[in-house]
């Protein structure tokens, strides 16, 4: 099997992804570990070379809008102005060099790529307009694709700019076909609750196995990443030792808060985060309500579970709204948008929008159940897209950034303060 080294013609991304990150020049001891759980063929490409650059990777960086990386002249202003960069392993100056040289193994195994919250202080101060903040975002997209399992899905999502009809269409068609086959695609008489259209047992039998598969995929990717980080920088402590501090940090967005200039983005993200948590908890509570408490759906509007759901919805809308406003009004701070960002933003936006419309349609417009049914099927479709693409879209930052933060905790010296 040939190794890296050929420049892949533009557009032939298919050949690229398997060697995008992992196999290029991993030390042998770790390539064995990683390869066991990874896609077939990948492990064969391990080499013992310590420093090999991948022209394919550099091509990919360019293709995804990272052409400004070439402007960097390593002055290190970026690292010096970054509020998040750790003293002993500052970023993003080094990462810019690795990107220029195509040192994919270093980038892939480097937690800094995810410790960055893209406040873009570096981009604002960069004397060369090399836009380090945007470059790291491009690299994050490449890491997500390179570590994806199965690889084909990773590629599909990475190319959302062209594959979005599949990503949205297939789940939607799936639901239409399923419900059609069940004879459920018709306006129910006396419409009052959505389980008349899709019985809960159908939801469970689709979403539970799907969640299992998604979690498996995410686990494999996360495992690869965790191993790579550990080999590149051995940890003093275990995964569990770092998980609590990381959890607290995520819950409060403390680290994000150090990005002084990204204050509004942090607020928006915090609301979005807790909105999602609230929505997920509400889903769990509804199962409790139905099976343990024996409630009938829909719950009354003032029921605590319902309130939690609606408060979460408001948080989601406000949070997403803030992020959209920041993106539109402060382009320099928000960074350049690429397909990686916009696909995820679109999915999240559609989930929020259809979710709220579904509720409104039932409450305010029950006489026209056709609208409600249509919206509900649409909602199920985009929720499925969100689920399935989780390990491959920007959503995966939840996985990788968390792991990077845990790694940083576990690697810190005991006295670390």
């Amino acid at each position: 099997m040939t190794r890296h080294g050929r420049v892949v013609a533009e557009g032939s991304v298919k050949k690229l992804a398997p060697r995008l990150l992992m196999p290029v020049d991993v030390p042998t001891e770790y390539s064995g570990n990683v390869a066991q759980g990874s896609a077939p063929g990948v492990n064969k490409m391990a080499s013992t070379s310590a420093l090999i650059s991948s022209p394919d990777f550099r091509q990919e960086v360019l293709r995804r809008g990272g052409e400004t990386a070439a402007r960097c002249y390593q002055c290190a202003t970026c690292s010096a102005v970054c509020e998040l960069a750790p003293a002993e392993a500052p970023f993003p100056r080094r990462q810019m060099l690795w990107t220029q040289w195509g040192l994919v193994d270093r980038l892939a195994a480097d937690p800094s790529v995810w410790l960055c919250h893209q406040c873009n202080d570096c981009t604002t101060h960069c004397p060369r307009d090399a836009r380090p903040g945007d470059i790291l975002q491009v690299v994050r997209g490449l890491v997500v694709e390179g570590l994806a399992f199965p690889q084909a899905l990773g590629r599909l999502v990475a190319n959302a700019r062209t594959t979005w009809p599949i990503l949205f269409g297939v789940p939607l068609l799936f639901w239409i076909a399923l419900l059609g086959a069940m004879g459920q695609l018709q306006s129910p008489a006396d419409f009052h609750a959505y389980d008349q259209i899709v019985p809960h047992v159908v939801l469970y039998s689709v979403f539970f196995p799907l969640s299992g598969l998604v979690m498996l995929a995410a686990f494999v990717s996360g495992w690869r990443y965790w191993r790579m980080m550990g080999v590149a920088a051995p940890r003093a402590k275990s995964f569990l030792s770092g998980i609590w501090a990381t959890g607290v940090d995520i819950a409060t967005h403390k680290r994000f808060g150090k990005c002084g200039t990204a204050r509004f983005r942090r607020l928006g993200h915090l609301l979005l985060f807790w909105g999602f948590v609230g929505a997920a908890v509400t889903s769990g509570l509804l199962i409790v309500a139905i099976y343990l408490q024996g409630y009938e759906l829909p719950l009354p509007l003032l029921h605590p579970y319902k309130l939690l759901g609606n408060v979460s919805a408001v948080a989601l809308v406000v949070g997403a709204g803030i992020l959209v406003v920041v993106r539109i009004t402060d382009r320099d701070r928000a960074g350049a948008s690429n397909a990686f960002d916009s696909f995820f933003a679109t999915v999240v936006g559609l989930v929020i929008a259809t979710g709220i419309l579904v509720e409104l349609a039932r409450v305010f417009n029950p006489e026209v159940p056709v609208a409600a049914v249509g919206l509900y099927v649409l909602h199920l479709g985009v929720v499925t897209t969100l689920f399935v693409t989780f390990p491959y879209s920007k959503f995966a930052h939840m996985l990788y950034r968390t792991l990077a933060m845990v790694h940083e905790q576990a690697a810190a010296p005991p006295s670390g303060g």
Binding site: Y73, A76, T77, A80, V81, A87, E88, P90, H125, P127
Partner: protein, 410 residues
């Protein structure tokens, strides 16, 4: 040159480049009009403590030039003069009022009685001087100058004190037009303003100074009589930090390299070490650019004890304790962030061409950064052409004079 009186050559700017061009052309037999915006000639070089390549005081080199200038009747020097307009080969020269005329003997009586104080421009605002004063000890013409706008209403103290009738508070500006055969533009530069660099403490922290201010601090004729001390309390700095490329090679500021600031800081590091061998000096750089033979000084500096050359541009300068300063940078070679302390921070600011906003004579054009581009009858010399050290400017000026002589014959 068969004509009786060929039209003169106009040289704009009497710094080291303009003076050189004027003398070279005059000594080759050409009539020259030399314009200088300030009241005395010499330009930026006279503000330096020592200059390259031999690290001698600039007064000696400049003295030779003024001697040549004085002895040559072909050069007509117009100080306080600028180009007001240029059209179709005719230039209009505006000369600011001569409040002090050539009867002045520089006796100094006017200064003694002058009640108004101004920030001394020769010392780049680091000291005060009377509104009427000798611009600096090397002034040529050796004559006092009055900052008329600083005069209190109705004050005639200097006029009354002057026994030579050399002061005329009602002097008017004058204009003249000229049809030069050719022009040499040598309008020089000014330092990139400190206050554009607030993240590095420029304009906000008193102990953050520019490289040109450092020259004045080290100079015998400077605000401290040549003792390097920090502005806030006059203490001799124990730790001095030089921040290279402060506002240079930066698309937010000056996109180009000013060519001399690396060497300038190396030289200034030696000033510090000469005054206090125990002082600790750190030079934070992106690249160390010591062109040509000047690499010797880098070698010399590397051998100095207590001088550290650190790769990594400073990102922030903040106030520390007791007038001290904190610098944040990445030590690129070690791959770690450092937070250093310093008593005095010198920002190596770059050169902005004065031509950027000036009048362009005879079809001259400038590039995006404001540097002049040669035309057939207008030549550019010195830093008006591109950032350069003194020696390069002098060679430049000689070449510009030769080309102007050739093209201006018609």
């Amino acid at each position: 040159m068969s004509e009786a009186t060929p039209r003169p050559l106009l040289v704009v700017g009497a710094g080291i480049a303009g003076i050189t061009a004027a003398i070279e052309a005059a000594e080759a037999g050409r009539d020259v009009v030399l314009l200088e915006r300030e009241a005395s000639i010499g330009g930026r070089v006279l503000q330096l403590h020592h200059y390259f390549p031999k690290l001698c005081p600039p007064s000696c080199g400049m003295e030779i030039n003024t001697r040549r200038l004085e002895r040559n009747p072909r050069v007509r020097v117009l100080t306080r003069s600028e180009l007001k307009a240029a059209q179709n080969g005719t230039v209009t020269i505006r000369q600011a009022p001569a409040y002090v005329n050539d009867r002045c003997t520089a006796c100094g009586k006017c200064s003694e009685v002058c009640p108004a104080k101004v920030k001394d421009p020769h010392n780049l605002g680091m000291s005060e001087a009377p509104a009427i004063r000798l611009p600096h000890p090397n002034a040529w013409p050796y004559r006092y100058v009055l900052d008329r706008e600083a005069c209190p209403d109705g004050c005639r103290a200097c006029v009354d004190a002057c026994t030579y009738d050399a002061i005329d508070l009602e002097a008017k500006e004058r204009e003249e037009t000229l049809e030069p055969a050719a022009v040499v533009v040598a309008t020089g530069w000014h330092a990139y303003p400190l206050d554009r660099l607030p993240e590095l403490g420029g304009g906000t922290l008193p102990n953050v100074i520019s490289n040109v201010q450092m020259e004045r601090l080290a100079s015998k004729s400077g605000p401290t009589g040549g003792t390097i001390q920090r502005p806030s309390d006059g203490e001799a700095p124990k730790r001095v930090a030089f921040v290279q490329c402060a506002g240079s090679r930066d698309h937010n500021h000056l996109p180009y390299c000013s060519a001399v600031c690396c060497l300038g800081s190396f030289k200034q590091a030696l000033y510090v070490k000469e005054q206090d061998p125990e002082a600790e000096v750190t030079i934070y750089y992106i690249d160390r650019r010591a062109f040509g033979r000047n690499e010797d000084i880098l070698a010399r500096l590397s051998e100095e004890k207590g001088v550290r050359l650190l790769k990594g541009k400073v990102g922030q300068v903040k106030a520390g304790d007791g007038g001290g300063l904190k610098l944040k940078a990445e030590d690129v070679e070690a791959g770690r962030l450092i937070e250093d302390q310093a008593d005095l921070v010198v920002l190596a600011t770059g050169m902005v061409p004065n031509l950027k906003d000036g009048v362009l004579p005879l079809g001259l054009e400038r590039d995006d950064d404001g540097f002049g581009l040669d035309d057939t009858r207008a030549r550019v010399a010195g830093v008006a052409r591109r950032p350069a050290d003194v020696a390069t400017c002098v060679r430049d000026a000689t070449g510009a004079a030769a080309r102007a002589l050739a093209s201006g014959r018609a």
